[in-house]
Amino acid sequence: MRNYLVLRVVAKLMIAFMILFALYVQFHGDFGPGGGFQAGVIAAAAIVFYAIIFGLPAAREVVPDWLVESMVAAGVLLYAGVGFAGLLLGGNFLDYFVLAGDPVDGQHRGIFWIEVGVLITVAGVMLKIFYMFAGREDGDRG
């Protein structure tokens, strides 16, 4: 599939839109359906799409393995980190009220960061799982 010019150009455009859509779903989650998990899946799907069009090695160059594995861990750390921030600022674990002067602002801030954490881990894991499965298939074919 690597030689179809039209496909490649369209694909690149599509991927840009998919990432954009993922970000929309991520940040619009406060007002409409969506959130970190769905956005993570869409972002991962964009990379999977890239891998299908341009081949797995190309995708692995854009988003290398070490990055994916770090993402998997970083999201959980970020989430738990928000929890500990609440702890350090004098509240309970995952207490967002203390994150800002105004409690509602604090809630906003807390929800924002944990959703980012979810996005990072979910995108990382989905991509990692895809790499693992797809990598095996390549190995089978030779």
Partner: protein, 493 residues
């Protein structure tokens, strides 16, 4: 100040250790972190237990949302006791696992192994600490998924199939639990267990609640491997890496048992379970079946690890037998046996891990004469075996004694006889090991063996020593268990 946050730190510290290990990608570091984290959980658990031992309750509102709107951690004497047990075993096994894992798992996987290990620990502690029905399911899945992976890391290819079967059975169990919690939720509108209990009276004998009880019972019994639902256990224990077998055998089924007790006594309440329904009789029948059938099957095993895995199914039967009496003594016996069996089986599987490390397998045909070259290991296995049988001077005796007491208290002398008969079956399967280890000539392969490394031997013997110590000095265990049992019967929540 920080002691206020102990309930959550206990669970979250192992949980964040996992991503740190993945970032570091270093086996030695991961082991060190796993050990430190297990140790810190142990310290925190002991502190918590000391605080609730007098029957008080610690409630911790996560996110500062008051329950039932937010998720609550709720520590009382029952789960305080369990937290100590789980983190104690985790700490000992963590030290032990270094050499054992080095031998059984590929080097580049070590950090992944320890990641899964701390996640499993965090999951089990989370199940024990939580006061929220759905949160319980989430942490149950954390511990289950990580244990599937841990089992699949075993060397034998049969470990894969064992893990798959456990995955299927475990997920059915978890789904049943979700259905049960869901029905309760639909009837009460809350997920907080204490709140649920407060809203149940009045509707406790409606059909959805009874169905919820059925689903929860079946689901939890799948997880704790009560007799007809135990099929996943022998293979999973037999083919998992030794450290994993020791850890899971000593903790996973025990935590499930706690969940059963928690739902029975703290949510549904005694009267629904034992007065309105014949749950006592059902549990009694299943427990006896577990004791006799699993013990008999154990006698015919070729693999020592499998033998003791079946013995675990039988011992779980003793624990549920204690529950089925629905009396203070019976419940005390169940909780004591929960603790004692964890120690005994932990010790046994750790020692067998030492044998497996040196010999590669633990089939009876291979271990002939092993006592000559590994006297300490073999003697430890015999001591732990005596505890399984229930010989005076070991922890096994204490729990059997209380079980017999509970049976006599209930006026069922025939049950007391059956309990003693069940122990005779244990004599036979333990004797099979003694016969092979002490009375056979060592083969050439066996003659070359040495004792396992010090770190494994010492930690294993620590557990064996605990089996004997708590068999002689029962004040701590019986005291703790009696307090816990009283808390449950008094509707602790």
């Amino acid at each position: 100040m920080i002691s206020l946050h102990y309930p959550i730190l206990n669970v979250v510290v192992p949980l964040i250790a996992a991503p740190l290990m993945v970032l570091a990608r270093h086996g030695g570091f991961a082991w060190l972190l796993a050990t430190v984290v297990s140790g810190s959980s142990l310290a925190v658990s002991v502190a918590l237990f000391a605080e609730v031992a007098d029957g008080s309750v610690i409630s911790y509102a996560i996110g500062s949302w008051a329950p039932p709107w937010g998720i609550e951690y709720r520590i009382d004497s029952v789960n305080g006791f369990l937290l100590v047990l789980v983190s104690l075993i985790a700490s000992v096994v963590a030290v032990y696992s270094r050499e054992s894992v080095a031998a059984e798992v590929a080097p580049e996987q070590h950090y992944l192994f320890y990641t899964m290990y701390v996640l499993c620990l965090a999951g089990l502690l989370g199940i024990a600490a939580t006061g929220d029905g759905f949160n319980l399911f989430v942490f149950l899945e954390i511990s289950s998924l990580s244990s599937y992976v841990l089992i699949a890391l075993g060397r034998d290819r049969r470990a894969l199939m064992a893990s798959y079967q456990y995955l299927i059975m475990g997920t059915i169990g978890a789904t049943f639990i979700v259905i049960g919690v869901g029905l309760l939720f639909l009837m009460t509108g809350t997920l907080n267990l204490a709140d649920m209990a407060a809203r149940l009276p009045g509707i406790s004998e409606t059909r959805p609640i009874l169905a919820a009880l059925a689903f929860l019972t079946v689901g939890i019994c799948l997880k704790l491997a009560l007799f007809p639902l135990h099929l996943w256990l022998p293979n999973a224990y037999a083919y998992a890496p030794s450290a994993v077998t020791a850890f899971l055998a000593a903790t996973a089924t025990k935590v499930s048992l706690y969940v059963l007790l928690r739902f029975y006594y703290s949510v549904f309440g005694e009267s629904v379970i034992f007065a309105a329904l014949p749950m006592g009789a059902i549990l009694l029948a299943l427990s006896l079946a577990a004791v006799f059938i699993a013990s008999t099957v154990a006698i015919f095993q070729h693999d020592v690890k499998r033998l003791f895995a079946y013995s675990s199914v039988a011992q779980i039967g003793y624990i549920t037998l204690g529950v089925s009496f629905d009396s203070l003594t019976g419940l005390t016996a169940a909780i004591v046996h929960l603790f004692n069996h964890a120690l005994t089986k932990g010790a046994l599987f750790m020692l067998l891990g030492g044998v497996a490390l040196r010999l590669g397998a633990v089939r009876f045909q291979d271990i002939g004469g092993i006592a000559r070259v590994m006297p300490l290991t073999s003697f430890g296995i015999v001591l732990a075996g005596l505890s399984l049988i229930g010989v005076p001077g070991t922890v096994g005796f204490v729990s059997k004694w209380y079980l017999v007491l509970a049976a006599l208290e209930a006026g069922a002398w025939w049950l007391a006889v059956l309990i003693v008969l069940g122990s005779l079956l244990a004599v036979i399967y333990v004797w099979r090991f003694v016969e092979a280890a002490y009375f056979r000539e060592p083969s050439a392969a066996v003659a070359r063996l040495r004792e396992p490394p010090l770190s494994m031997l010492a930690t294993s013997w620590l557990m064996v020593a605990a089996c004997v110590y708590f068999g002689l000095d029962t004040s701590l265990t019986i005291g703790g268990a009696a307090q816990a049992a009283a808390g449950l019967l008094g509707g602790g929540r």
